[in-house]
Amino acid sequence: MPLLTHTDDHARPGRTRTETVRFCSRCGGPDDALPGRPELRRRVCERCGMGVMLTAAGDALPGSGAAFLIVTAELAVSAVSRSGDKVFGEEGELTGSHLLAIVTSPLGDEQLEQHVRRAALSRTETIAMPVRLVPEDAPPVGTLSARIASCGSPHAALVAVEPSGFGIR
């Protein structure tokens, strides 16, 4: 039986671990600051001014401007990217909501919960699993491929989604 939840190839033993990246919690844009000079890094995104700069594994984001959620260990949504507004709903309305009120997984919500909670509590490898949107009025995007990774600070899970092409109604 094929593994439906998989660890990202870059993070497997023997492979070079992906560099970490800093990205904006709102626009998803990368940090332009010089690496290795944390004292010069800014907390607030210089591009959009509406997000804070977080760090995650380089393979955690499908690309700049991705649709993602930042989720705490209590599975409460603490930030939504601007692209995520179009997929999940407006950040202002979703902040504080439970993750399972927004997405569900065909593999079982327990697995989804477990991966997200683990990522939010400690630094874990990026994993990918299918998810679907829960609300009835959600856009008809079918099954999404979600990358779940640790990010921070403060510690949280990054749930970044992209279309998988399956199950579009």
Binding site: R43, V44, G49, M50, V52, S78, A79, V80, T95, P154
Partner: protein
Amino acid sequence: MSGIRTNAAAELLGVSPNTLRSWERRFGYPKPRRTQGGHRQYDLTELESLRRALLETHNISSAIELARQRGEGPSSPARLLDAFDHFDEGVADRILEESLAVRSVERSVEEVLLPALELAYEREGRDAERELGSRWATGWLHAARRVVAPATRPQGVLLFDSSPRLDLESLHVQALELALRRAGFRTLLLAFDLPPERIVRAIRAIDPTAFVFCGGEATLEVVGRLVYTVRQVGSAGPVFEYRESMPVTGEHGIPSLGTVPSEAVERLKAYVDSGRLEQVVVAPEVEPAARPGRVPAAANS
């Protein structure tokens, strides 16, 4: 209120002046005052609060909401509790310093220190934060006690504390001791469970005008033994209780000094200035909730 201009405020937060102005338009925070020349003047407290909130949240609106909550009033119990939660004794010191700039020591203790500790003790699963708060508060109260001027009143007050160390009640008792000393009373605080023969010299030395039972963990037997010892030494000073510390519920005939230090000081002053116990409110207005191990007064008569 100290204020700084837009560029300095933006630099402090690590954002551009345009970002700062866009937050003001969108969220109404930080909200600058305007100088006579129309320039924005940002409050340093608001900026510092926001700077810290930005480190603790994942988006700007949550950070602003958090900073707003913390920024309510100068040196609030919530801010002190927050300092405990971050194990930041430096910030805790600063909050009390700020409070002392606008409040007396008594009000700082009653309106900031003790309420913050009560909040800390109400929560579950925050034992380390609570202990830090308790130890820090003990140190702060001791430091405040050391700088109190010598007693100005001839009357002495002997406090008996039955609370466990680092307990919330123990901090209430220390706060009472500080208030009594600051009111000019010669004050001595002793543990409730000292053997009677060990307190005789203390009673003779201080010649207390009044005895106060505090802490709420005493047993009837110990209370009885202490009162017997006090009377044997020849002291006729009245016995009071503080914060419902007597091990019986209901009417027990022991006058109460109330539940906060300033109230206790006022009642003691009323007593010693008039020499009449009637000046002190005797019966509590509300029946206190029974504590474990307490005996109803009727069963005790």
